[in-house]
Assembly symmetry: C2
Homo-oligomer: 226 residues x 2
């Protein structure tokens, strides 16, 4: 279990990355995301990832020195995009708009990148062996910052008093749930976020609960139109 930041720099001595390198890395990372999110770290096999990426196991190991390195690379690859939405929460904006937009983005992420959500969930559930340091530094810094934004909204009387961190957890939990537990959701409703109507429905419901939960007069936009 080495650090997350180390990348394989073996194959290219010169500064540039050949086109074939870039393509294969990308193929590998995509295949790795699929496999790791589906089977977990231990359940995934290097051979299957290689097959999925359309190359031999040996060749894959030419690009990444170990299974763990592939895993870390896949994780790092999704992490930034996965945590990006929170950064857009604007202190200047209206809480209703900002939070609704944040929820919408998070649900869109769950719909578009369910595998990323599951990979992340898997990692954290196993104790975050690879990304714990990042959670404790980068993510904590970001969350602290946004908690302050929420605090300010509370102080300004714009939303009901609540512990900001629990609000963030609630939004994370509800939105990611639809990706992580999509099988269960499909078993119970017959649909999941890949269904457009269900996506809108989910967006409506989650947004309604959270915003009303915060005492925000929530216009429930375009509800009449649909």
């Amino acid at each position: 279990m080495t650090g997350l930041n180390e990348q394989s720099r073996e194959p290219f001595k010169t500064g540039g990355i050949s086109r074939i390198q870039e393509k294969n890395r990308s193929l590998i990372l995509e295949a790795a995301l699929g496999e790791f999110s589906k089977k977990g770290f231990s359940g995934a096999t290097v051979e299957r990832i290689a097959a999925e990426a359309g190359m031999s196991k040996s060749n894959l190991l030419y690009y990444f020195p170990s299974k763990e390195a592939i895993y870390n690379a896949a994780l790092a690859h999704i992490l930034e995009v996965w945590l990006a939405p929170l950064k857009t929460l604007d202190p200047q904006g209206e809480p209703a708009d900002e939070l609704a937009a944040y929820i919408r983005q998070k649900i869109a992420m769950s719909a578009t990148y369910p595998e990323a959500s599951r990979l992340f969930a898997n990692e954290v559930m196993q104790g975050a062996p690879q990304i714990l340091p990042i959670l404790e530094t980068n993510l904590k810094r970001l969350v602290d910052e946004k908690c302050q934004v929420i605090e300010d909204w509370i102080a300004a009387g714009k939303i009901r008093r609540i512990d900001p961190v629990h609000l963030i957890f609630t939004i994370w939990a509800t939105t990611q749930h639809y990706a992580d537990f999509s099988v269960q959701i499909k078993a119970l409703t017959g649909k999941d976020l890949s269904d457009e109507d269900f996506l809108r429905e989910t967006e409506q419901s989650v947004t309604a609960i959270v915003l009303n939960g915060l005492g925000i007069t929530w216009p429930q936009a375009e509800q009449g139109a649909e």
Copy 2:
């Protein structure tokens, strides 16, 4: 991947289960819960489970015919208790009381049996290979029934109009999140549900959002007292 319901009936030909059988089964299931929830199905090893249970691998395999059988038994063992709280949702009760009680129970479950939550989450995230049939039958029946209860509350004007199934998902997501992502929560807040104050705080926050989200006049009981 055989069915979930089959249990190892090898060791005892006679109807009764010896005391030692009962004890060892229990030890094994407890150890299995710990290992499977920590490492996932593939990551867990029979030998470690056996060691944790204080016996040899061979002996463990005397009680359960295979790793998968242990997994299924552990899963079946927690499933009932895990889904029990929803059953207590009483159509006769007041929504505020009933939902608050349900949320409290679910959070208590997350605090008391976080491993069960993670085991369940893991199973579902991997596509519920073992319990999908149960989700589609037993759980669906239960959820449908409780959705009707919520519908009735809506029809009676007791809570805001919302799709009941999303309300249930929201409660599941928020409450289980504190068990499944406890490492992340600890990284961000320094605490988790094992901390009594944090437990109360979580209960308050989640209940407040959900109940207010449903437009329920929520007394916020004993908030002044604490």
